[in-house]
Amino acid sequence: MTLSQHTTTPTKRKKITVLPGFKLTLGYTVLYISILVLLPLSTLVWNTMQLSWADFWAVITDPRVVASYKVTFGTALIAAMINVIFGTMIAWVLVRYDFFGKKLIDGLVDLPFALPTAVAGIALTALYAPNGWIGQFLPFQVAFTPLGIIVALTFIGLPFVVRTVQPVLENVGAESEEASASLGANRLQTFTKVIFPELIPAILTGFTLAFSRALGEYGSVVFIAGNMPMKTEITPLMIMTKLEQYDYAGATAIAVVMLVASFVILLVMNTIQWLVSRKYTV
């Protein structure tokens, strides 16, 4: 997907009134999204309201739940940052260098989009378990520790960063780089001062998407996390736990917290991005 590049849409867009179907398409879009997304999501809030404020507060600040926030946000953040670093690097290598099998590698990047997360979880657990292909060679344990969660979240988030940075990198004007070189800058200076600033909006977008996707990830994580309370229990699992105990109000309360968090993150990142790009994009 390409990703909230909408923050950088040209300001001088022509307002089209001759093309037909504005009311129809807008109506359909709003209706569809309302029925499928907004209405269901609003029931979360509705259900939460069955709790008193005190109960709500108690549920969402329960120590185990709070610990799960920390685990979830912490690992998602680290995974998103790993993805930013390696995703940008991979995008760079894919765009700038030629090597054997590049097309294949390029295609492979989409794998996490297409692979069921449960399968990914199982496969990654098999790899990183202490007796796994990779795990047995590592001096520290990966699966069933927060590290394992990070591995799973890195896996599912990778394409977001690569696929947002890649097209931008392809379009970063060769001229800018040449201008920099002709002004006497070396390669590193050109990258840090000219190319990287151009990539920032895309990287931010990729980061936001990878991060918010990681916050909600369930399928792959439960297999590899170990699910130890206070240590490796993620928030989506807490929601599941509440559900298994017939505690709908508790489950929706936590879900609302997550939803608000995702939304705020999306919003904050979009705003930052908008602030960054507003200055100098046409």
Partner: protein
């Protein structure tokens, strides 16, 4: 991701060696990237296939032709056949609305379309229980009319639709934005009506991006686990989709069979990638 529709890319792009990193840096970066991809993408894939074929081809074939597996495959395909066209239609319409017109709240609409990306699949499943579950908003009504939504096909469908709402729209919006509206205007000024304009002008221009969005949407519909797991009810041979069936097999200690079905899904993922590459190649060589 945007497929780079780069036929317009400057063919006169420079490739002077003076603008490249030192060889050593290039090699280091490439190696590091490949290593990363190998560990994070190739190895898991290898695990799946090797585990699937560990007990030989016969077991493999048996695992994926066993009746529960077949019904899971059937269900998954059925869900895809319904969900993908619906979201494709939505994607096209939403993209048209968002890129061809300028209106207040446009950015909010895009954000809401994006929202399912950021909502945990568990929550996505949960909300449909809250709406259509027996204790939910409309649950009683549907129950009384003998039209089960959750723990049946419609629920699985809704959850799948929810998680894949943004795919096609998100693929098309930047593409259509980049292409602008001039060709459409030309078409209208030549006397074409709205549908003709869409069919003859817009669609051919976005078809590769559209196809790519559809492929991704399809892959995600088929692969969705978390959300579907919540609304499925896990009835063997009835409401288990392929990912759920994999979990079932896994829980029955039928690891080989589980990986066999998983490998089938991976094959799908790989097929997706191949088709995508063909698309890109076609786009580049037009």
């Amino acid at each position: 991701m945007v497929i780079s529709l780069d036929s317009s890319k400057q063919s006169v792009k420079a490739d002077p060696t003076s603008l490249k990193e030192p060889r050593i840096v290039r090699i280091a970066l490439t190696t590091l990237s490949l290593l990363f991809l190998f560990i994070f993408l190739v190895m898991p894939l290898a695990v799946i296939f090797i585990s699937a074929l560990r007990k030989g081809l016969d077991v493999y074939v048996a695992s994926i032709t066993e009746s529960d597996a077949l019904s899971a495959i059937q269900l998954t395909l059925l869900v895809a056949v319904i969900a993908v066209p619906l979201n494709t239609l939505f994607g096209i319409i939403a993209a048209w609305c968002i890129t061809k017109f300028n209106f207040k709240g446009r950015n909010l609409l895009i954000t809401i379309i994006d929202l399912p990306f950021a909502v945990s699949p568990v929550i996505a499943g949960l909300v449909f229980i809250l709406v259509f579950g027996a204790q939910g908003l409309f649950g009683e009504w549907f129950l009384n009319h003998d039209f089960p939504i959750v723990f049946a096909l419609p629920g699985i469908l809704l959850a799948s639709l929810f998680v894949t709402v943004p795919f096609v729209a998100r693929e098309l919006i930047p593409l259509m934005q980049a292409q602008g509206t001039q060709e459409e205007e030309a078409s209208v000024s030549l006397g074409a009506n709205g549908f003709q304009t869409f069919w003859h002008v817009t669609l051919p221009n976005i078809k590769w991006g559209l196809l790519y969005g559809v492929i991704l949407c399809n892959a995600r519909v088929m692969g969705e686990f978390g959300a579907v797991s919540v609304v499925s009810g896990h009835v063997r041979g009835l409401t288990n989709t392929m990912p759920l069936h994999i979990e079932v097999l896994y829980n029955e200690y039928q690891f080989t069979a589980a990986f066999a079905v998983a490998s089938l899904m991976s094959l799908l993922a790989i097929l997706t990638i191949i088709i995508k590459n063909i698309i890109e190649w076609k786009t580049a060589h037009r």
